[in-house]
Symmetry: C2
Subunit: 190 residues, 2 copies
Amino acid sequence: MPYRYEIRLAGSGGQGLILAGVILAEAAGIYDGKHVCQTQSYGPAARGGASKAEVVISDEEIDYPQAMRPDVLLAMNQKSLDIYLHDLKPEGLLIVDGTLVQEVPVTGAVAIPFTQIARQELGREVVANIVALGALAALTKAVSLKSLEAAVLGRVPPHTRELNQKALQAGVDAARRLMRKAKKQLIPGE
Amino acid sequence: MPYRYEIRLAGSGGQGLILAGVILAEAAGIYDGKHVCQTQSYGPAARGGASKAEVVISDEEIDYPQAMRPDVLLAMNQKSLDIYLHDLKPEGLLIVDGTLVQEVPVTGAVAIPFTQIARQELGREVVANIVALGALAALTKAVSLKSLEAAVLGRVPPHTRELNQKALQAGVDAARRLMRKAKKQLIPGE
């Protein structure tokens, strides 16, 4: 991970991305001991189906708290992908919710059906944000899975802890399956 | 309210100030239609009993998202007051939780026993943050009470809505009682 690592979580207002941003920031800041700034902005640009939360992680003091060129963009719906893709670093990682994003105008994006996993494997669409966090952590290693789990459990209502733990693991598993598949495609026969 | 209005909410990790910051930001940004940036930072300085959430509200686009010289500091415990007081604007408003803050090194601070109100009037200490938000809104008019209530109801778990609504009102009432008292002291005989 470079000196300064910028993550943008984007989607519609109801997809729980601010909570996801707070959890990710607490995983990195409180449990992994990094310097972290977590931000959300509201304004005319933020309205109309695309909200975002940002997390900047660094080993040193953070000068500017918002993402300038994100290293990672998680886009949980089409609108947020369309609005925020242009900022992503050329070598950055794009992760989309394959359930709700139909059109990905770049190659190299990772699509995982977070909402479908949440609905089918966990019975609650509302935990798609936590499924996505698990996948993001497994793909980027921006935070340790142990810290992320601790942060999730510290933030969600007590009676939903088990559900959220399973959601996190489902996201990690989905990302790992995808990485194994990608590896096989790169090295056929292995 | 001036062009750029900075609010810092500070206290210990368990006092729910990040949630309070998100609610305040959504009241101003989503419901009042202002430009808002909401930030939390984690790092060595943030550890040890003093966490903070910041909300910057403006009528125009916000250039720098963090508070530089807060117009308002809400200090929910002694440690956070001691750490963050020096940044407050000279003409800024200091609001402290009179239950947990014993020592206020400046004059002109507003002390309201948020934790005691939450415990005694509402039976749940955990809503002290919402009581404080109600008082902050009544004292500063940084957000409308209607917007603040909508934002609270949009963020808290459904089964706690009534409790949080009462907590908000208790904070508004406490602030209004205080303002009436202050007025009487300024104009004796009235």
